[in-house]
Amino acid sequence: MKDRLKDFISEHREEFDVYEPRPELWQEICQQIPAKRKEETKVIKFSFGDSFSFSGDMAFMRVAAAVILLIGCGLTLWFTKHNIPEGNYTLATTSKPAIQKIAPELTDIEAYYTSQLKHKKEELSAYDLKVLGLDEKRGIDRELARLDSSYIQLKKQLLTAPNTDKVMNAMIQNLQIRIEVLNRQLEVLQKIETLQKQTTEEQLNNETNV
């Protein structure tokens, strides 16, 4: 027996899956599944006996606790938001509140390295690359952009990784590599500059000798 509907759907089966859940859903799921290898989450039980429990007549306590918690969260968020220094150097700075929760120290680390990187960049831009006969600045920019994108990747992983320390270390390493790249470039430029000075001095000496 022919069933055109069935044939049509099985021919185009893949195209019928058009929906996708919100990306945030994973985090909601993640919080509710047991992770055994991680250090067990400590659950502090409040038990004051049956007469003084949080259920039943103490329902208002829950509401009060919720309100205090909300105010607390709000204030922390507000303060941390206003603490992020304005850096015009491109570095994916933390803005997600979730990251703030996972790694609160990240904002400070990022702020420190951002200012360091900015400083190095300023030093670098003092050199005139064309005069020194160098045109590899684009290569360095590309390298820095690559580092920045892997930094963003790491930051995403921070949200889901069980071992945040490892990810954090990788992120810090990433920032250190950037500074190292800029340092190397500065060294190279300094060497070239001194070499050029020497050669021009020699030339001058030669000319005067002639």
Binding site: F16, Y19, P21, C30
Partner: protein, 186 residues
């Protein structure tokens, strides 16, 4: 050969999940969430409800992973969980999926309605399925899109195989009616 290595990889991820590895759990989620969400969406026909179901199903899957014995593929094991969660969800909210009187009338002639005048477009078919009443939509989706046969659908819904069959042919007829409606533009 390729399928077996794929299975192995999957099996490894599942094993890591059993050990509580968060990264492995995310890997499985990434691999299956879209397909499972569509399964859930077809049954519930509601985005928020489908998400609740997906969340509930994944949590229960990760918690009960030790009961998964790799006889079936992980995907079909997970899908069963999603389907059951979705059906429970709509049962809670709505009345019987298959009305009592239809459970009694088992045999319905397998007439195939004329479908030559119907315009076959994926989007149109999909939207028409969404407009079916719950009972019809669930049976039709499980049969046509999720690859269950009538015996399995009967088991899932707690009805007989022949009820699933007759419910499907009614659903199919209704679907063609919807698609023929003059206002149901593509």
């Amino acid at each position: 050969m390729e399928t077996s290595t794929y299975q192995d990889v999957n099996q490894q991820v599942v094993e890591r999940c059993k050990g509580g590895d968060n990264r492995a759990q995310y890997e499985l989620y990434k691999l299956y969430s879209k397909a499972m969400f569509n399964v859930s969406m077809r049954i519930t026909n509601d985005y928020a409800e489908a998400e609740d179901v997906l969340q509930e199903a994944f949590i229960s899957a990760f918690k009960n992973l030790h009961t998964y014995k790799s006889e079936a593929s992980f995907g079909s094991w997970l899908k069963k969980i999603v389907v059951n969660a979705a059906i429970n969800s709509i049962r809670k909210k709505r009345s019987e999926l298959v009305p009592m009187d239809e459970r009694m009338v088992a045999e319905v002639p397998d007439e195939v309605p004329d479908d030559n005048d119907v315009e076959w477009q994926i989007d149109k078919v999909r939207r028409a399925i969404q407009r079916l009443p719950d009972g019809y939509r669930v049976v039709l989706s499980l049969y046509l899109l999720d690859g269950y046969d009538h015996a399995e659908i009967g088991e899932i819904l707690g009805v007989s195989e022949s009820t699933s069959k007759s419910q499907y042919s009614r659903a199919r007829k209704k679907l063609l009616e919807i698609m023929r409606e003059p206002h149901f533009a593509a």
